[in-house]
């Protein structure tokens, strides 16, 4: 019973290792991107766009994109619109709970005000304008394929 650990350890320490440097950085989120959506005070347009993303036409599960209900399971935090005053601490708390590595994606509608400028870490992307489900979908797939490059 005591023989095999010694055998295994001796094999391990007698081998010479060849270090291979990866040619391009590995994407940690290939085919598995868990998204947590916070509605930080938007009108429901962006929320309805996300809802219609679940339609079988886009088939987001094929790319490994899933929606989760808590930031502790999430890789990507999506903030919809500029946070209202009361929602700002909650957005920051959600970022606090996200495990490394993670990314933040800001999406906003056309509004009269300037963009969101609240100093968020790990900003992966920023979408602005009259958005539709198609564009959001493309951005999410791009993140899922290419990894979080900040």
């Amino acid at each position: 019973m005591l023989l095999w650990p010694i055998y295994g350890l001796s094999k391990r320490y007698s081998k010479r290792y060849k270090f291979d440097i990866p040619s391009k950085p590995r994407n940690p989120f290939r085919r598995s991107l868990h998204v947590f959506v916070i509605d930080a005070g938007s009108d429901v347009e962006l929320l309805l766009e996300f809802y219609s993303l679940m339609s079988p036409k886009y088939n987001i599960h094929r790319y490994g994109i899933f929606f989760v209900n808590t930031p502790r399971h999430a890789d990507l935090l999506v903030i919809l619109s500029k946070p209202t005053e009361k929602m700002l601490p909650i957005v920051k708390e959600a970022i606090n709970h996200m495990p490394e590595p993670f990314g933040v994606l800001l999406i906003e509608n056309e509004t009269f005000e300037n963009g969101i400028d609240i100093g968020l870490p790990n900003l992966v992307g920023r979408l602005k304008g009259n958005l539709e489900a198609e564009e959001i979908f493309k951005k999410l797939v791009e993140i899922a394929k290419g990894g979080l490059i900040c």
């Binding site: 339609s55 929602m87 009259n130």
Partner: protein, 407 residues
């Protein structure tokens, strides 16, 4: 049947914004005893303390599942919800305050940002109010187009609400098919009108129209979608499991209406109707769909049948459309005259009322009465006594948007 739409401060005096039958206007606040809804409108009802074995199960601001940011304070001692207080202030964007001192066109854009799924109804109500203030009469084509697009909005909103309900009841194939139909209608909107949620189409006095051939194509494609929905809906009614989950959950009664004053499909499910479309001359012979029961199932049935009714209305209105597209001149005087007006539109979840005070062409004061304000109070009343499993059905069956109520 009268409704208290709001408690407004005009010239330093408190007045009640009331609608009753064809009358919409202000009443002195001495009549506040007649309206049971006065207390909650004034904010006099406060959340009670948790005592004995109750604890506050807070469904926090950010609860996931593509839900809006509201706080549900549910007082419970286990499975049963005893008291519910909804805290809606996390989504307040103070749009009414932002509208002050803006001219009417900018304010119109702001009104479309209150709630995207009701954006056309909001812009309709606002533009009607401004047109009444300045005495502008839009031509028939504009009126017909507005009514058609209101019905289109009603169709995709009702499909969205029913898909949310069936998603809560775990009817996955049905839900996904409905989301697909929802997305199809939004793509149709984008193709023919340039905006998925019908934004930036309506303006004061006129509307961006399209040619009649294109309109015919749009109506035909929409008809195909509604026919597919109708088949799905008939099929879903055969699933007893689905119907049983909706039956007798979230019951509302006429007494709840007396103390809360909601309207829309929630009221039609109890057996009464305050639909403002009966007063439209262009929709002659319009009969509201009512149902008895007052539970989630009745609300779903009312919405499903309203989809079919809306399609019929669209086809009827389309026949009345003329080929010519006269644009009336929109004249907004920039004088220093004070004007006030009230405008309304029938959104999918109830009637929206706008009260505006203008000084020249700048807005001085706005009060918006949205249907979701009342539906949220109705949610609080209907959740009492239910168990947590029925929470999702009750919430989703009202079709209330918290962004709409928080303004």
């Amino acid at each position: 049947m009268k409704r208290l739409l709001g408690v407004v401060n005009i010239d330093g005096k408190e007045q009640l914004f009331v609608s009753s039958g064809t009358f919409v206007g202000f009443v002195d606040s001495s009549q506040s005893k007649e309206f049971k809804a006065y207390n909650w409108q004034k904010g006099l009802i406060k959340a009670k303390e948790t005592k004995d074995e109750l604890f506050n199960f807070r469904l926090g601001p950010s609860a996931g599942a593509l839900f809006e940011s509201v706080v549900f304070n549910i007082y419970t001692y286990g499975e049963r919800m005893k008291e519910v207080y909804i805290d809606n202030t996390y989504k307040s964007r103070f749009i009414e305050d932002k509208m002050i001192n803006k001219d009417v066109f900018e304010a119109l854009k702001l009104s479309e940002q209150i709630c995207a799924s009701f954006s056309f109804s909001h812009s309709c109500a606002f533009s009607r109010a401004v047109e009444e203030a300045f005495g502008i009469t839009p031509d028939d084509n504009t009126k017909i187009m507005r009514l058609i697009l209101l019905e289109v909005e009603r169709i995709f909103n009702h499909i969205f609400v029913i898909s949310r309900l069936s998603g809560a009841a775990a009817q996955k194939v049905f839900t996904n098919h409905l989301i697909y139909l929802f997305d199809e209608i939004l793509s149709l909107n984008k193709t023919f009108f340039g905006s998925r949620f019908l934004k930036n189409i309506n303006t004061i006095g006129t509307i961006k129209g399209i040619s009649k051939d294109k309109m015919e194509e749009f109506v035909k494609k929409l008809d195909d979608i509604v026919k597919e929905f109708s088949k799905l809906y008939q099929f879903s009614l055969k699933s007893y499991n689905y119907l049983d989950r909706l039956h007798n959950t979230g019951i509302l009664t006429m007494e709840d209406f007396e103390s809360i004053n909601f309207d829309g499909p929630a009221l039609k499910a109890i057996g009464a109707s305050l639909d403002t479309r009966v007063y439209e001359e262009l929709l002659e012979g319009f009969d509201s769909i009512v149902h008895e029961g007052g539970d989630s199932l009745s609300r779903m049935i009312v919405r499903a049948e309203e989809i079919m009714q809306s399609m019929e209305l669209i086809k009827k209105l389309f026949q009345k459309l003329k080929t010519s597209n006269n644009k009336t001149n929109i004249k907004i005087e920039k004088d220093n005259q004070k004007r006030t007006a009230i405008g309304f539109a029938e959104s999918p979840s109830g009637a929206i009322y706008y009260y505006i005070e203008l000084l020249g062409d700048k807005i001085k004061y706005v009060y918006i009465s949205t249907p979701s304000m009342f539906l949220i109070k109705a949610m609080e009343a209907s959740l009492v006594g239910q168990i947590f499993t029925d929470f999702a059905f009750t919430i989703d069956s009202f079709g209330a948007f918290f962004a709409d109520a928080a303004k």
